[in-house]
C-alpha cells in the first residue's frame, strides 16, 4: 500500500498522524482514502469544484504529479506520496 506523508499543519485533521498507509491504485484514490474519515482534510486539499488546490503540491516519490498523470498517476506498494505546501510571496503586490 502507498504511504502518504502529511505536513504538520494538516496533521490535526488526520488524527495527528505524520504518515498514513492507504489503499488505492492511483494518486486520486489514495488521497480519497486518506480523506475518508477525515472530512475536514478535504477542504484543505480540494476546492469546492473538486480540484486539488493550487497551493497544494503532491509528489509521488521524487516526481511532482503535475508532470506525471496528475491524480490518475498509478501508485503501488512501496510508493510514497508527499503533500508539499506551496509557499510563495514577496514584497510586491
Amino acid at each position: 500500500m502507498p504511504k502518504i506523508l502529511i505536513p504538520t499543519p494538516l496533521r490535526q485533521y488526520a488524527g495527528g498522524a505524520k504518515e498514513v498507509e492507504v489503499a488505492g491504485a492511483t494518486v486520486g484514490e489514495a488521497l480519497a482514502e486518506l480523506m475518508t474519515g477525515h472530512e475536514s482534510l478535504r477542504k484543505h486539499l480540494y476546492s469546492d469544484e473538486g480540484r486539488l488546490r493550487s497551493f497544494v503540491n503532491v509528489y509521488l516519490n521524487d516526481e511532482d504529479i503535475r508532470f506525471l498523470d496528475r491524480e490518475a498517476t498509478a501508485v503501488g506498494e512501496g510508493d510514497t506520496l508527499s503533500i508539499v505546501p506551496s509557499i510563495a510571496g514577496g514584497r510586491g503586490a
Binding site: 504538520t8 499543519p9 508539499v84 505546501p85 510571496g89 514577496g90 514584497r91 510586491g92
Partner: protein
C-alpha cells in the same frame, strides 16, 4: 516564539545577502516544545522558482522543499516554517506573503538593505489566510 540557532541564522543571512537584490527563500527545520516554543536548528536555502522579476517575489522551489521535508524526517526534526527576504524594504508580512502562506508555520522575513541585513521579523497566518499575527523571534546578534 521562534528561536533561531547561530548556525541556522548564518545560513539565512548568507542566503539573503547572496540573493540581493533579489528575494531569497528557504525552509526552517527544528524542534517543538508544545505548540509555541519553536527552535530552528537548520535553515535550508532553497531556489527562488518565481518565473518573473525576483526582486519582489518568491516561490520556494517545491523540489527543494521536498528535499528539506525529507531531511527533517531523516534527522527527526519538524518543518517549523519558512524564511524569505525583502530587498530594500521593511521586514513586514505583505499581502502577497499572506495570500501564499500556510497556517501554523512560522514565517521569518529578513530586511536586506544595500546587501546588508537591516532587520528581521516573524509572522504566523490564520487558517483563512486573512490575517497574520507577529510571532516572537529570537536570533543571534551579529
Amino acid at each position: 516564539m521562534l528561536t533561531i540557532t547561530p548556525e541556522a541564522w548564518r545560513t539565512m543571512v548568507a542566503h539573503a545577502r547572496e540573493a540581493y537584490p533579489r528575494e531569497c527563500c528557504g525552509v526552517l527545520l527544528g524542534t517543538l516544545a508544545g505548540e509555541d516554543e519553536r527552535t530552528a536548528t537548520v535553515a535550508v536555502a532553497c531556489r527562488n522558482a518565481y518565473e518573473g522579476e525576483r526582486r519582489d517575489r518568491f516561490v520556494i522551489d517545491p523540489s527543494d522543499q521536498l528535499a528539506a521535508q525529507k531531511r527533517a524526517r531523516a534527522e527527526d526534526l519538524e518543518v517549523l516554517g519558512f524564511f524569505h527576504s525583502h530587498p530594500d524594504e521593511e521586514a513586514y508580512f505583505s499581502a502577497t506573503d499572506l495570500a501564499h502562506s500556510w497556517p501554523w508555520y512560522s514565517n521569518v522575513v529578513l530586511s536586506v538593505r544595500g546587501g546588508a541585513l537591516a532587520g528581521a521579523a516573524c509572522f504566523r497566518a490564520d487558517e483563512a489566510r486573512t490575517r497574520a499575527e507577529p510571532e516572537g523571534l529570537a536570533y543571534p546578534v551579529e
